[in-house]
């Protein structure tokens, strides 16, 4: 087990370097010369040449990449092309916090609807309630987020004036309701399904029959025996849920005018601000890889039958 974890940990830096290299190459061979982007309309070949040598852009790609990795490993992602004089880290740090808050609320919505419902319908297997609720969750999962948000805005803002139409004010602000609902509700289906499956699995175990046959109250069996055991595997899918939220974040943040990382990465891609894109990709990949590793490890801790070699 320890050997497995160490092996995975050693492999992570190589993965991240490969990710960085691919993004770097795409940026270098992508459209738009960074110096042209920086200078905008005041383009002057002589000055451009000087900036290029200052920034090391005239050196071979591999040398540039080596320098980049060297400073990135110390947490320095360079300077933004678009916002001169601002370091990439100082630009994206506050935006990551905003997105993290929004995703957290969205995830809480998915969990607080999905888990109880999944637990409930597992007990109703074979009745009409079970397939009905599963179909409903698929229904909500299938509505693209660019339709959900206008619809929610239409109800909450145009018709009833309950919440402001756009903007951001942190977690305890009414403006978070619509984006968090729009991002959280599609995730309900996944939570519900896993919870249903694990609950069914637990319900079929011998110790549940034992608990029931020794005369324990239904409520006690449900909470102490079934729920406790069926909730554990959920931990492992939280990592994937967070990754899934990212896709929705691009669109939600753009529509709702939320200063988060999703909207910023879309802007940066259109602005050809490659240092920012590189940093976002690298941070995202790091988070993703570590979350995956933690999921795998927690999986084998929770379920001792799973052994990695």
């Amino acid at each position: 087990m320890w050997k497995y974890i160490v092996g995975r940990l050693v492999w992570i830096p190589f993965l991240l370097i490969a990710v960085a290299f691919i993004t770097f190459i795409l940026g270098r061979f992508g459209p738009g010369d960074p110096v042209e982007v920086m200078m905008g309309t005041k383009y002057d070949p002589v000055v451009a040449e000087r900036i290029r040598s200052e920034m090391g852009l005239d050196k071979p790609v591999m040398v540039q990449f080596y320098k980049y990795i060297q400073s990135a490993s110390k947490g320095d992602f360079g300077e933004s092309f678009r916002f001169r004089g601002r370091s990439v880290s100082s630009l994206i740090a506050p935006k990551i916090i905003v997105s993290a808050k929004l995703s957290l609320v969205a995830l809480l919505i998915s969990i607080s609807i999905g888990l109880p419902l999944g637990f409930y319908i597992a007990h109703k297997q074979g009745t009409w309630i079970d397939p009905l609720i599963v179909s409903f969750s698929v229904f909500f999962m299938s509505i693209p987020i660019m339709i959900t948000i206008p619809f929610l805005l239409w109800i909450g803002c145009l018709k009833t004036n309950l919440v402001p139409c756009s903007g951001w004010g942190g977690i305890f602000d009414s403006r978070i309701i619509i984006p968090a609902l729009a991002m959280g509700i599609p995730g309900v289906a996944g939570m519900l399904r896993i919870m249903r499956a694990t609950t069914l699995d637990v319900l079929g175990q011998d110790y549940i029959r034992t608990a029931q046959s020794k005369g324990l109250h239904f409520f006690t069996v449900s909470t102490r025996h079934v729920f406790r055991n069926s909730i554990i595997p959920i931990v492992t899918i939280l990592a994937f849920s967070l990754a899934g939220l990212l896709g929705g974040a691009f669109i939600t943040e753009t529509i709702m005018g939320i200063p988060g990382i999703g909207r910023f990465s879309v802007e940066s891609i259109f602005n050809r601000d490659y240092p920012v894109i590189m940093a976002i990709t690298l941070i995202g990949a790091t988070a993703f890889v570590i979350a995956n590793l933690m999921a795998d490890i927690s999986y084998s801790i929770i379920d001792p039958r799973i052994r990695y070699k």
């Binding site: 795409l26 061979f29 599963v134 698929v138 660019m146 145009l158 139409c165 691009f250 753009t254 993703f288």
Partner: protein
């Protein structure tokens, strides 16, 4: 060999008949067939050209002439939705065929059957591309590949004297399909590899080897048919997500470029607050089609997994 074919056909037919007993699955298949056919044959079905403007009918709600109303330039929304469906259908189809089926299944088979270095190489590459936050990789690829591919197609036009290649929209198709393929193959490759690894243990593989069957014969005649069920389920379930990703791309402006209509762009234009207040049909028309497309793939995937998954039988 004959026996093998009849057996697999029997398995297939029983699965199909079990599928057709599910009402949801039948409805979904019907809806998907209708949407796909009307998309592919948009040039026959669409009542108007997608660029045709009717200045006497600007911003009109749905009527008999214009089933989904007209937009701000007086263009027929129904026709534009059909052409948009055509783009989505072609792109997702190409992406699933090349990415999931061709590359994914191929690499998965090789990886699982050969094992050793080839296996770890393929799986390492898969691990690298799956450690990208997938939607971000797709967006970056779509944004950076376009000029390169455009240049390449222009070069082809000049070199072989073909005119109007760029105008056909082939650049958009290539860019988006490539971007979608970039992460689309990993899931099927892993699934296929796991399947092969477990099926390889069976005695009939050993006996096929012992009578001197070639590798390709073992792969395609003995391994593939037995690994196909979970593959069908995973591909059907993946189609909904793939359609969703294509729509996100065109919503962001990285998909099919105007004047060619795309569903994502229509949702973008119909989704703003001012449009929603004045002309809600601009969102409702394309919205319903997109929704039906995604939900039908998802529900069909669910039904298929019920039917083909031996544990729930």
């Amino acid at each position: 060999m004959n026996k093998n074919i009849t057996q697999s056909k029997g398995h297939f037919m029983t699965a199909l008949s079990r599928l057709f007993r599910k009402k949801i699955a039948v409805v979904c298949i019907a809806i998907l067939i209708i949407i796909y056919f009307s998309g592919i044959f948009a040039f026959l079905i669409a009542p108007y050209e997608y660029t045709a403007q009717d200045y006497s009918n600007i911003k009109k709600p749905p009527s008999i002439e214009h089933w989904m109303g007209t937009d701000r330039a007086g263009r027929d929304v129904f026709s534009r939705v059909l052409w948009g469906v055509q783009n989505t259908v072609i792109i997702t189809f190409v992406a699933i065929l090349t990415g999931s089926i061709f590359i994914g299944v191929g690499l998965g088979l090789i990886s699982g059957y050969r094992g050793g270095r080839v296996d770890s190489l393929i799986m390492r590459i898969g691990e690298i591309s799956s450690s990208f936050p997938d939607i971000l990789l797709v967006i970056i690829l779509a944004a950076t590949l376009r000029p390169r591919i455009l240049g390449f197609i222009r070069y082809l036009e000049d070199a072989y004297n073909i005119n109007g290649l760029v105008k056909t929209g082939i650049v958009d198709y290539l860019v988006i399909s490539l971007a979608l393929v970039s992460f689309g193959w990993i899931g099927t490759a892993r699934l296929m590899r796991a399947q092969v690894l477990s099926i390889k243990q069976n005695q009939y593989i050993d006996s096929a080897k012992s009578i001197g069957a070639s590798t390709s014969r073992i792969l395609f005649l003995h391994l593939m048919p037995n690994a196909i069920s979970p593959l069908v389920v995973s591909i059907t379930m993946g189609m909904g997500a793939l359609v969703g990703t294509e729509i996100i791309l065109s919503w962001l402006g990285l998909g099919v470029q105007p004047p060619r209509p795309s569903l994502g762009r229509m949702l973008l234009e119909g989704g703003s607050i001012s449009v929603l207040r004045e002309e809600p049909w601009l969102l409702i028309g394309p919205g319903i089609v997109v929704f039906l497309l995604i939900i039908c793939w998802n529900l069909l995937g669910d039904s298929l997994s019920d039917v083909l998954n031996p544990r729930t039988r």
